[in-house]
Symmetry: C3
Subunit: 362 residues, 3 copies
């Protein structure tokens, strides 16, 4: 179990970050996000260089963030801009690590690796999902007590739907059509394209779909390494293209907090009942229910059974539904092997001074 | 601190296991018990061979139990009987460990060691205790945050009664007769036979005993390795045999959950006031009170003081009341030394296949 | 991170110890304090020599304390005085470690190191603080989830006041005068003398000070190794001596419970509004608020950010306000290096007997 450092991770939705500093933890690093005077988001290590107070407990002063303990101020570049004490001289090592941050499509993204390698073009492009006119949006966030790859496994193998979500998201084993899965790998993306043909519409589409009794159902999941997923799910009349039907665009953004905790943000837009607020509410409620009452307890129970042991060393039986998940794991393993831990993580403190030196200079 | 594997452990009372699967943990192994169509109890490792979901969260389907995550079904022998996916082929390694289970005298017993060595005759025989006509039965269960040998120590040294249970189970130090203890070892049984002669009856016998003012009190504890105890306790007129008096038959069944947790089931039958429901209630209440308010806090405090250090390495002062407990510890030490960890525990996964093999066959 | 063993630590206020035994934990050692017949406090290891029950759950019997589990009694010297069992012989190793204890100036002090080296004269002398006529006293106690040196750092660097206590104990950054700090080291005492000249009185002095609009403010902190602090804080008319003004004498007594927990007792006396109970209440409330709502969350957050890493190995930036804290750390480091762990701690059990020996003698 490990992390990929050179990657963009979702730190929250844009509206999570207002005037107040926001504390998040990603890859075990405590981070603070804040907006400078012109609203640009900044991200710093959430640990003052002086006595290690959380900057997130402090306050924003123009373009700087002020430490709540003794008042040092740090800029967006992580360098101390104000020392209120003594001769106001700013010590050379008075700086904290900065993390590149990008705000796009309702989302905040933080680069956890070597800042030199951060490239805005690598941020997941969701314009096609959320910048569509007349596509109302609902969303939610959870904290899960699990390692992030177990959530990826859950999302890439939707065969669990007819068991775990029987009666909520699906009609259960009895009334469902046969599941066809097509798995494709392209670059750092693994796609799992699920089809069920000529079946009754599932509970959350039934009310909105009146054009035919039977439907074709598609659920296409695109995993982007390391752990963000784009999901197209919908129904259409049997034999007709998906575009003619009703559908949801969903993104599932997984952010590893630690080896045993994952933050999960999701956003869903739709092309049906777009004026109907009650459909938005029902959809959000259904997703919340399925996730918090069905998926989360199951993934947490699996985590508890697996402990800190790596999946493959437990020698799981593999079923046909595991194809996409196994390819994503193999791809992520390769990416992690290929990267060296970025110097900025290893070297987060200024080197080469000793207690004696400190005490002489005081 | 360690466990004896080749032994029967109490997994609960018969009525704990109905139509629904029952999750228990014994010797750190998560187990699921369920009843097949004809009511026979089965016991499997509570961890699906596919992605390690707890089978206990699933449902019973005839003689099988169905995994709640992706629907594999396993039989009483632990072998997968149904794969709902793909060509329905059942992978060779789709099996979970099974544990021999026996239901007898109101109780469920699970064999944690090598299944080949499980022998029904080794199950503690309680017919003489609970199959008696007109002996009403009360019972209870607790989860204790302690290593199981500390509970054994408590039960084998009843000298603690006049201090810890003063005013509840005993009359305390002042009004009690002298305690005589006789310790006997036979096979895997250690007996601690406690007598107090010619004293006032203790609180919970006082109301039911009207035949004499003074009584002889006996409390005979038989420890059966590794951690189940049979207990005869009663009063009779001074100098008369115990059979003429009133008495309780109690069993104390300790089941190690982990190195720091013990499940404790007890059952008590009696030969007095047998029609009187209020006596049953009072008895159950008195035992519950003594155990949860007096014994458990003390044993938990002892555990906290000892930490994970073995008793003998702390060099305890030994008193006369320790004789039975020390013999039980010595006997159990020998049994644990003599057994090798059973192959079924060490080898709970199918050996000899690699990631590459998996990925080729998918 | 480590402890100084040869030192007196505050175990509580005198009135905390009545007729009942009192359990405290100091330097990870569980201790029991009790008063003998004539009221003298005793302190023993809170772990019976028999089966390690906490003596603090037992009761005081004259000059002894009786174990709650099987009734052994121990005297103030830690030696067993009564064995109620068998032939009443007292085993040679039936003893627990005793800790020297001194009661003085409302406080209980325990010596954690080699008893031979305990010297009453080394106890912090607070007579000048609390034996003054007409100086009403208020006090409080907290348990902090932090390593004790972080609390020392907090108290020795009062520059945090204008940020962390803005609006409660201070007027904040804007309306405060310039802070002058003078640091002095003498023997095992480090003094941090803080002055702010010609400023508005801070909130908790404002109501009681009517003699001038502007004041000089002093706050003199005297750290006595290892972790007790005497604090003089007050206001006076500009340019006038402190004695003419109003002031508080405060002691801050830090007692390390473990590497990650500290007990904090404080006592404050004052020379103003001495008849006015409402001033006592307000003062106690203000100190409680500042400590529990402002200091404690900050120190706990710092601890969380630092984990178990030593401060200096994290290479903190040092500011002018760190001068006293760094000198205290250096002094304490030297004291800890100079002491060997006292034999009484290393050798807390009787040596040289084996299981075989025990079992032969039983
Ligand atoms: S801890 Fe940030 S200024 Fe002191
Ligand atoms: S985890 Fe049991 S079938 Fe998938
Ligand atoms: S534990 Fe103290 S007398 Fe037994």
């Amino acid at each position: 179990m490990s992390f990929l450092w050179n990657a963009w991770y979702c730190a929250g939705l844009s509206h999570d970050l207002g005037q107040e500093p926001l504390a998040v933890k990603i890859l075990e690093q405590p981070l603070v996000l804040y907006r400078t005077d012109d609203g640009t988001p900044s991200c710093l290590h959430d640990r003052c260089a002086h006595r290690f107070a959380p900057l997130s407990m402090g306050k924003v002063c123009g373009d700087n963030i002020q430490c709540p303990y003794h008042g040092l101020q740090f800029g967006s570049d992580g360098i101390c801009k104000r020392n209120p004490w003594g001769n106001h001289h700013i010590p050379i090592n008075a700086k904290v690590r900065r993390f590149p941050v990008i705000e796009r499509d309702m989302l905040l993204w933080v680069w956890m690796g070597d800042p030199e390698r951060a490239c805005a073009e690598d941020v997941l492009d969701l314009a096609a999902h959320f910048n569509l006119p007349h596509h109302p949006v609902v969303y939610g966030s959870y904290s899960l007590p699990v390692y992030y790859e177990l959530v990826t496994d859950n999302l890439l193998d939707l065969s669990h739907g007819i068991y775990l979500h029987a009666g909520s998201l699906t009609n259960g084993e009895e009334s469902s059509g046969e599941l066809q899965v097509d798995v494709q790998v392209e670059g750092n993306v693994v796609a799992a394209l699920h089809r069920r043909l000529n079946e009754a519409p599932s509970p959350h589409f039934k009310k909105s779909w009146t054009r035919s009794e039977r439907i074709d159902h598609h659920s296409d999941m695109y995993w982007h390494a390391p752990c963000n997923l784009v999901h197209d799910v919908g129904v259409t009349a049997p034999g007709r293209p998906a575009e003619e039907g009703i559908y949801l665009h969903v993104v599932h953004l997984l952010t590893p907090v630690s080896m045993s905790e994952t933050k999960y943000h999701w956003i869903a837009s739709r092309n049906f009942d777009i004026e109907d607020e009650s459909v938005s509410k029902a959809l959000q409620g259904a997703i919340n229910h399925a996730f918090t009452q069905e998926d989360e307890p199951m993934i947490a129970a699996v985590q508890e059974r697996m402990g800190t042991t790596d999946l493959m060393s437990l020698r799981p039986v593999l079923l046909v539904g595991d194809a996409a998940g196994m390819r994503a794991r193999r791809l992520l393993d390769r990416l992690r092997r290929e990267e060296t831990v970025p110097p900025a993580v290893a070297d987060s403190h200024v080197q080469g001074y000793s207690i004696d030196h400190i005490q002489q200079t005081m």
